[in-house]
């Protein structure tokens, strides 16, 4: 990531982002009101949550769900919804309960 411009003249014309992969620098985790809590015991590692998460916030290790990237998870609840009904390994919990 290049240094962020400190004046309007040095910004790329038209608000274009002229390098790929910069979404990682944008912490959408701030937006969350519900936090997905993943239960490793219940999880069957079908990876449905990983496929459907719009923010690539399901972290994998050796093909298994390792946890959730809370810097980028915006709490939409799609992972909990897509987790097989018989498994229900992800529970959405009020963010306020963690404070």
């Amino acid at each position: 990531m290049k240094d962020i411009a400190n004046n309007w003249k040095d910004l790329p014309v038209g608000g274009v982002i002229d390098e790929p992969g910069t979404a990682i620098n944008y912490e959408t985790g701030d937006w969350r009101t519900l936090r997905p809590v993943h239960n490793k015991e219940k999880c069957i590692n079908c990876l449905a949550c990983w496929v459907y998460c719009p923010d690539a916030a399901i972290m994998l290790k050796d093909g298994k769900v390792e946890g959730i990237d809370l810097k980028h998870c915006k709490g939409c609840g799609i992972c909990a919804q897509e987790c097989p009904p018989k498994v229900k390994a992800i529970k959405m919990v009020e963010e306020a309960d963690f404070r």
Partner: protein
């Protein structure tokens, strides 16, 4: 440098300019009175006279969206519209400017509903005056043609990179045939040059993101840059106008002054009314009234300082607005000219007449009567209203 003298309507002249510009992409949806521009251009596409990809869309919102997409991809793109069509594009107009896309539009001025009306006034263009588009008005077919050719160079200039609309008055110019000169294809193409997009989205070696979210952190800085582009456009418009003059014979600036140097009263207007006005000025001069005219060609960016300097010595000014801002303060041209003249501090008397809404004709005699009434009021005769409507049944 070859020129051919021809008879063309405003729409034909604009279609001819688009043929010569030979844009990569044209995206449009038909609307009276601009339909013909694309209808004629479509025959050029069908006859293989241009290399353009013509994209007929299902609405003007889609036309502007397609044009934006195409310009983002790196293609020189044009469109044409009018009235409700331009209104339907409004959301996208701002996006085209914010993304700094040098889109080029042929706009045929027409009233906005309601009531439904297909004839000329400037309400459509005025509604988009804060959208970040450069706006250039034309008095006749020749100017519409010349302006559209210059538009390419202005919009694509590296210091500008803003969308641009060139307007004609619906039916009055768009459908009236006039003698004019067209230039050779190779000269026009030489003048406009090839388009080199700054960051084309289709360059897969340099991937970019366009239209990203920009909250309190950088939105303001990006908008500040758009404002600067519009300020920069002033020099570029003059530079391109001079170069056009050297190459094709007719130089263009921000405005045209007619018999203004010794004028005691001057009318200020946009578009075809300048033609009517010049006849009125000639008649008033024959009657011993020193009248003059200032036709504003460039409305965005608004050349405030230049207009104030040119009108400095004219004590009586009458601004003719072919649209109503419905602000209880007169028309948009009046408001902007008043602001421009305020700095000047000289003793001007500036009045406003809103005229010609929905295509209502303005006659030479009406202008003569108006300007002579202003002169006599200034000399202590019967007083006249500061802001009023001209040609309406009172």
């Amino acid at each position: 440098m070859g020129k051919t003298r021809v008879a063309r309507t405003g729409n034909e002249a604009m279609a001819e300019a688009i043929r010569q510009i030979n844009p990569d992409v044209v995206a449009a949806y038909p609307i009276t009175p601009a339909t013909e521009v694309m209808q004629i251009f479509a025959t050029y596409v069908a006859d293989g006279l241009v290399d353009t990809e013509l994209v007929p869309t299902e609405s003007e919102h889609s036309a502007m969206s397609a044009a934006i997409g195409s310009q983002v991809a790196g293609a020189r793109t044009m469109t044409a519209t009018s009235s409700q069509g331009l209104a339907l594009m409004y959301e996208m107009l701002y996006i085209a400017a914010g993304l700094r896309l040098p889109l080029i539009m042929a706009e045929v001025n027409r009233a906005l509903s309601a009531p439904i009306n297909i004839h000329c006034d400037h309400s459509d263009t005025m509604g988009g005056r804060d959208a970040g588009w450069i706006q250039i008005f034309s008095e006749n077919s020749q100017e519409a043609y010349d302006n559209l050719i210059q538009a390419v160079r202005i919009a694509e200039h590296k210091d500008v990179l803003l969308p641009i609309m060139v307007t004609t008055d619906g039916f009055i110019i768009s459908h009236a045939m006039e003698a004019m000169e067209i230039y050779d294809d190779k000269d026009v193409r030489g003048f406009i040059g090839t388009y080199k997009p700054l960051l084309p989205a289709l360059d897969h070696r340099n991937p970019i993101t366009v239209g990203a979210i920009d909250f309190v952190d950088y939105y303001f800085e990006h908008r500040r840059a758009v404002a600067q582009a519009m300020i920069n456009a002033k020099d570029v418009i003059l530079e391109v106008g001079r170069e056009f003059g050297r190459k094709f014979g007719q130089e263009y600036g921000f405005y045209e002054a007619y018999k203004l140097d010794d004028a005691e009263v001057a009318m200020v207007c946009l578009g075809s009314t300048a033609g009517t006005g010049k006849d009125a000025i000639d008649n008033l001069r024959k009657r011993g009234i020193k009248a003059g005219l200032l036709k504003i060609r460039v409305f965005r960016p608004f050349p405030a300082e230049e207009l104030a300097a040119r009108l400095r010595c004219v004590p009586q000014i009458c601004v003719l607005d072919r649209s109503d801002a419905l602000a209880a303060t007169g028309g948009p041209l009046f408001a902007e000219l008043l602001a421009a003249m305020y700095e000047d501090r000289s003793e001007h008397k500036i009045i406003n007449r809103i005229y010609g809404l929905g295509g209502r004709d303005i006659k030479v005699g009406e202008i003569e009567e108006l300007l002579s009434a202003q002169v006599s009021a200034a000399a202590g005769g019967k007083s006249i209203d500061r802001i009023a409507y001209l040609g309406v049944r009172e």
